[in-house]
Amino acid sequence: MEIKFFDSELKVMDILWKEGDTTAKRIAEILTRQVGWSKTTTYTVIKKCIEKGAIRRYDPNFVCHPLVTREQTRELEITEFINKMYDGAADQLVASILGRKNLSLEEIKRLKEIVNKLE
């Protein structure tokens, strides 16, 4: 499923991806603490996500269940990014990432492992 999210919607999805099914009330509490939203604002964003088909609502207690995974969303964003910046060539993106100066040794090691695994 291909759903594009605004940053605000990603905040809500993030909670669902991390914590699994969560009540709207709980999401509002977390986001008030995290980004200072009012309960109404959070509910508006949840409603948007439901309209987009990214969340299913279960009653009672308005439990929110994510209908897309974080991986699906990442996949979509990355594909779009590769198409936009690397003419669809994923290897060049990897080269870019490896060429980044501010990568830690730890990160480079992990990336190399992934590349080796895929070969």
Partner: protein
Amino acid sequence: MNILTMSLSASVFILAIIIIRALALYSLPKMTFFALWIVALCRLIIPFSVHSPFSLYTLINMLRTHFSTTDATIIGMASINVGAAVDTINISLPKTASENISPLIAVWFIGFLACALFFLITHFRWRSEYKTALPIDNEFIRAWQQIHLIRRKVEIRQSDKITSPLAYGIFRPVILLPKGTEWANEKHLEYILMHEYVHIRRFDIIMKLLLIAAVCVHWFNPLVWIMYILANRDIELSCDEAVLRAVGGTMKSAYALTLIKLEEKRSSMIPLISNFSKNAIEERIVSIMKMKKITIITFLATVLIVAGLSTVFATIAKNDTRNSDRVSTTESSTSTVAVPSSSNSTISPDRLAKIEADTPSAKPIDEKALQEYWKMGALNVDGVPYLPLVDTAKNLGYTVNVDTKNIDSAEYPNTVEYNYELVKDGKSLGIASIDISNGKVVTYMIDGIFLNTHDKATNIILQKDTVYMSAQLFKEALDTSNKLP
């Protein structure tokens, strides 16, 4: 004062501002226009009152006569004695107003509602979008917030739903920055934040709200829409001016480049950027680059222009309120004690002929319009004003009650007031009144509106904004007075 009067008198002012703005946009401090728009806004919004259809028609009448009798000499206000007529009118007015809501008022109200709804819905939709903005984790911004403290706490957030920086909120102001802001470019950030900060500190949002209110009320007036656009631009221009004064004039080009950069981003996201906003950004850049230090001369010019224009404008306003002044005169003179005295009004044939020559002839009118005309006092058709005729009224089955009263004053001795009341089925529909002092007509009043004030000499001199009374009613009145014992 009703909306149309307010709109028209303010239009003259708006037009004057537009002309001055076109001539001296780059040579005057932008505060000049900002101040002028505030005066225009006050004019458009205060006093805010929705009047009955009664006064709207009166206004149209007044305007038409105004244009057809511009050469008429203006004479001083004569004191007016109306007596009991006023009471009758006050009672009959609300009835007549609710019975016949003018289509003009209805159209105005629909337009007003449509405009107000449009702005409200847009406002609340965007507002809920802004609310979903996210906090920014940026060292520079945190430091900036520490320096720029005002009584209200200013929040700074980011959103991926906007393309250019903005500030919103009156009591809890928030500066919103687009997601794509160059966070590392501190000069760029500082200019943007300063600009929004000046908006917040000056409560520009209230000015914007008032502009919207003016546009909603005066939606039918294209000049008010032009004012809305130009004033919104001038808010930005004078804000830029304040920012540059704060950061120092040498930063002009750096600041202008920041603006251009923002505009580039915006136009790359919105494909259809209109010529109009291109024009606006050009105006802004040129304004910034041409900004000069405020010297004594420019300061004086500003004060002179604002004070001068506003004064000229206030004079117009005073003329416009003359009508209401007259009504208040009426009310205060209601208490005049009527002292009975004999009146021997004699009118020479010459004078009557003169009156007829000076007074546009009456036209026949239909029954449906009669009541309305009577209530309105008079009607203009193609600039020719006339009154419902007593005869016509009688022929159409109305009763016309004539009531006389002696009202003397020091200024107008031997004054008799004749009240003509239009009655149908026992219900009073309105009153026309004429006061004759020593055989000369002093004043008329039709259903609460004073139509005319005559001088004490032989000639009838009509006042500006005056509606004539028909020759026939004139004669009628005089004949009646002649028949009196």
